[in-house]
């Protein structure tokens, strides 16, 4: 049986931990609200961008001179995976679920004879992937989004990707992030960036508007616009991924800290009960000693 003193110390230390986790939960909750607002505010831009690219891609489809960012380099030998994780831990399965997804994808690609390169955004993803795929990581960024991701940061990554693609360092580029579903659930999402794919939602919207506007005039011509807009679109997609990720991170941290606080509460109850029991046992023992001492006189 643990001594009274050690039980008391134990209760105190768990209480301290509980204070920290509940404070972290509150902080995460307020950050989550901000991150969610930012993610929602950025959605219109990405949607319009998709719509515009959809029309452009339609106009370009089947043409020989389509930019490579749109049509791909003609190979799919080298895959680049952009892994977006958080810089900080203590957010439940947030980072490890991304890493697990990436690990599976890398093994899958490697077993089918493709080579894989990794671009990690966020400290945690690099730390976890370095052990296994250290030599595959060609680029790393961290410290993004202290105060929420900014578009300029995403644009830099986009430009870098464009440059690497032009230097033919990879053929297919995919970005991995946690899509924000709700506070409780974040879904690991793989999204292909290069070559550009029109997602299904835009297709539907295009059908709606297709009766009114079938063809566009372009100023300057469509190849020039595409050459300009595609690298830019990369930045937008990266930005969207980072924002979703930021919201997911806070959501994951909030529910993880909520659990931790609850568990600490349970533990305190259990240890307090044990403490009281042994305190009573001690008192009873002392009483018996006094009574039997008095009897012996």
């Amino acid at each position: 049986m643990a001594s009274l003193k050690s039980l008391r110390l134990r209760i105190n230390s768990v209480k301290q931990t509980q204070k920290i986790t509940s404070a972290m939960k509150l902080v995460a909750a307020s950050k989550l609200r901000r991150a969610q607002e930012a993610a929602e505010a950025a959605r219109p831009y990405a949607e319009r961008m998709d719509r515009m690219l959809g029309s452009l891609a339609l106009a370009m489809s089947g043409r020989e001179d389509a930019p490579k960012l749109l049509s791909g380099s003609g190979n799919d030998q080298i895959h680049l995976i952009v892994v977006c994780t958080a810089d900080r831990g203590l957010c439940g399965g947030f980072n490890s679920s991304i890493v697990r997804g990436v690990r599976l994808r890398v093994q899958e690609l490697q077993s089918s004879g493709k080579s894989v390169k990794l671009y990690t955004v966020g400290r945690k993803g690099r730390e976890q992937l370095r052990r296994e795929f250290g030599e595959l990581i060609i680029e790393h960024k961290q410290g993004i989004g202290r105060r929420g991701p900014e578009f300029s940061e995403a644009a830099t990554i986009g430009e870098q990707l464009t440059l690497m693609f032009q230097e033919e360092q990879f053929d297919v580029c995919t970005i991995v992030y946690n899509r924000f579903e709700s506070v409780m659930s974040q879904i690991v999402t793989f999204q292909q960036l290069i070559p550009f794919t029109i997602n299904e939602d835009t297709d539907k919207k295009d059908v709606d508007s297709a009766d009114a506007d079938s063809s566009y005039d372009f100023e300057p011509d469509e190849t020039l616009i595409l050459e300009d807009i595609l690298p830019r679109n990369l930045g937008v997609q990266v930005f969207r991924a980072l924002l979703e990720n930021a919201a997911s991170e806070q959501g994951a941290r909030m529910s993880a800290m909520d659990n931790a606080t609850r568990n600490a509460g349970e533990m305190i109850d259990k240890v307090t009960l044990e403490y009281n029991r042994s305190r009573q046992a001690q008192i009873t023992k002392e009483l018996i000693e006094i009574v039997s001492g008095a009897e012996a006189l």
Binding site: A41, A212, Y216, P220, R232
Partner: protein
Amino acid sequence: MVETVQFELVAPEKLIFTGEVELVVVPGAEGDFGVLPGHANLISTVRPGIVEIYESNQVKERYFVGGGYAEVTSKRCTVLSTESMPVSEIDTNGAQERLNAAESDLSSTTSETDRSRAERSVEVARALVEASQN
């Protein structure tokens, strides 16, 4: 009832303006163009400058845009800007500082890609300064 166009001005961070307008003038890469209802379908790049929204032949609102793209159809006009803000909110000193910083960047860079990027940011900053002055 005057016919209107559904106009949207979007920046990466958020939706800046959305609403029905009678006429909007967009600084296209190959010259400014006005959008009235029933405009031909058009996709154009936008140079740094000012988007003007008109109501009964008067400029009602002015927004600075730092370049981007415009998509026009007969019913709507969407401008995707790299950055945007109402002209009234531009900080004149900040704009001037930005222009100076961009110019010194331009003079100190050597590589081809950095150079074109610096040139572009000088252009944006210059448009911002001009916008803040009138």
